[in-house]
Amino acid sequence: MEQRQIVINHKKYRFNPGSTILEVAAENNIRIPTLCHLKDASPTGTCRVCVVEIDGLPELATACNTHAQDKMFVLTESARVIESRKETIRKFLASGNHNCSIGTNQERDWSLFQAKVLTDDGAEELCPAWGDCRLQDLAYQYQVQGGTSAKKPVNYPMETVNPLIIRDFSRCILCGRCIQACNEIQVNKAIRLGNQDTDPKVIAGSDVPLKDSDCVFCGECVQACPVGALVEKKSRYQWRPWDSEKVRTTCPYCGVGCQLNLHVRDKRIVKVTGVEDGSPNKGRLCVKGRFGFDFIYSDERLKTPLIRDKDRFREASWDEALDLVSSKFIEIINQSGPDALAGVSCARSINEDSYQMQKLFRAVFKTNNIDHCART
């Protein structure tokens, strides 16, 4: 077979036909920054952060959707490329309420801006995505400062009417990732780009709140949003990446068994995201997996053993409760044999619990009267 070679930053690499420049670079550990690019979705080249210089082409090209070609000569960090990326990032930062720490070493301008944003947000905190924002990362990497140019007025108010997701258009950079997440990954087709000619905006249905649209609150769009434009209501301001740890676990709801990252702060789950590339869900979650974690903190949890006392229950110690259970079970076994006991295990609890319960019935009580809701 004819060998195809591309030259990136003066080094030669072979590649499979059909690969994009971004893919060839990634395979060879050359990092080209991206922003709008979403894994498993079709590349769009919208944000222009991944631009590279190709010998012989007058314009810079977007690496995510330009195919590698034989004898192509590519520079990924040339002066022109870097200047272009800086300008792109500057433009994004100037486009909305990006009040993270990026601008903090600015003078008065930034303070005024900050005051205005806090009013817009109705909050005392910096952007909820601060510390977990791709745009902020890029701004640090390319040393671009925000808060230097005039802000556009915010034309669309924040959407807070649904119980789970806050849509803050003042921070939307129109990268399109949420739209791809909704249409190409989850295929819920709830949102799209609207008002394209006048003042573009990501819209649901005929520009209605998410709760009145086809949205099923999977939150894939939130996970995809690189900035603070989409955030979980439950997690907003509850969480910064540096004060929480990630704990990988398995979803407690359906039989798909999605892999979750629990973001845990002070021993409390504050946010849940899908484990990128984890099997079986490849980062995807549904509404229950993403937003159904806080039941464990309910005030109504059982906190102590309870023993029936006529029509009510009274609190008891473990010893008292377990002694009562054991003595009653022993009495029943002695009078009526072990098969007068029966147990139902739990199809939601961990394997180790079910194992232990059937062992208790079989090895200790000596009955096989153990079942669970296997068929529901």
Binding site: N162, E184, I185, V187, K233, V247, T249, T250, Y253, C254, G255, V256, G257, L262, V264, K267, S279, P280, C286, V287, G292, D294, F295, I296, Y297, S298, L302, T304, R308, F313, W318, L322, V325, K328, S336, P338, L341, A342, V344, S345, A347, S349, I350, N351, E352, D353, S354, Y355, Q356, M357, Q358, V364, N368, N369, I370, D371, H372, C373, A374, T376
Partner: protein
Amino acid sequence: MTNSFSEFSKARMFLVIGSNMTEAHPVAATFVKNAVQNGAKLIVIDPRRHRLVNFATRHLPLKVGSDIALLNSIMHVLIRENLYDQEFVSTRCTGFEALSEKVGEYPPERASEICGIEAGIIRETARELASVKPVMVCYTLGITEHTCGKNNVMTVANLQMLLGNMGMEYGGVNPLRGQNNVQGACDMGALPNVYPGYQKVDDPAARKKFETAWGVTGMSDKPGLMIPEMMHGLTNGRVRGFYIFGENLANTEPDMNKVAHELKSAEFIVCQDIFETETTRFAHVILPAAAWSENDGTFTNSERRVSRVRTASPPPGVAKPNWWIFREIAKRFGHDWKADSGKEIWDTEISMLAPNLGGIKYHRIQEDGLQWPCPTENHPGTPFLHRSGNFTCGLGRFSPADWTPPAEVPDEEYPLVLSTGRRLYHYHTRTQTGRCEGLNDLLGEETADISLADASRMSIEHGERIQVKSRRGAVCVKANVTPEVPEGMVWMAFHFNEGNANWLTNAAFDPFTLTAEYKACAVRLERM
């Protein structure tokens, strides 16, 4: 599942039967939708026009409980028109003659009368299924929750063997499990007839093996009772002590009045749970358990993948891990169980006793889980079963079955069929999702989903409160008039105590699995 979720997005054709995947298994559905966007075909067999139907190449809205008639008829066409996989059938399967004879009784014209799908469409569907190889079949409780549940399951398997779609990637028979760890609870032997790893309690060698491992003698050789038998036993004193771990039987079992009566008759009930529920009301002792995220362990998903569950928070009050509670009771019977953590229980007991899990150890599943069978520590796990048609018991056996109607069918007094299931925003009886901020706001009460035709015939408005009555009970709910539901059907869930469909459902069971017929009973609607 014989196959894996990772195969979904590359499959070429799906047959989804009795599975409302976008609501019950939403992430699995995303992979099916991805495949369809990449050109795969999707055939949906379901009485309801649920969301996945929007992506289907073909939707067969069969009558509730007529699956066997329809599938037998499809097989009838496959055999008559010589469209089945003769090579696979002759080399890998037995019992073809009997199957051929049985499905011979289901020409499309006859099946059509039973299932309500036109004969011509049955023929086209059969041809379509034979046109692509392999076809991946997925099903859920729409297949199992019938009095003919076991026969339904076997009939689906018959179809896939006839098409030669077993033992390969992108094919197979794939039941999506309703609850996160049903697969695991079965694997662990929380079943009356098998020990962990499906070793039979009436096999003396297996019994000996477990007696030795557990250091005891005199274990029972008699398979135990299944849940409906236990419940019945409460009323006649055959079962005197009942230990309910984490199940809200009062709301999840059919015919809630009957269940309440049974639980009320019990002499001594122990409930171990994380919340008070409708069921704990009947308890004599309630033991507070640690919840998900409050202790370490494993779940096994539908594709047989054992994945880790980890601790994030401490349990409230003095609540304890379930395994610890069982161990404490054993101690009071004079048994000293060594293992003192989820990891120890798994690594030193479960994986040593269940051969298919032998190679799975905690240190191997720190990130992605492993799919059993995984017999040894250098085994990579098994994404799909029966590779190249090697069935566990030698040849694949066709088990032909006849169609039987649901135990209760509509009549003049109760002219509609009630079918039940789950909705997206909640899970079972909401002991969990009902306490999650936001989820209750998205769906705060039960509704009865009815068709436009029935609504207009009875002049019921969308959102109007109506009564749904069966021979067992009545509930008051809002009508949800929707094109998803066909004429003659009422569809409800069991998430709310008030308006719970299980006040209405019929406690009729499959004679083999004792699975209840949640998917079909007769009801009538009344305006208030």
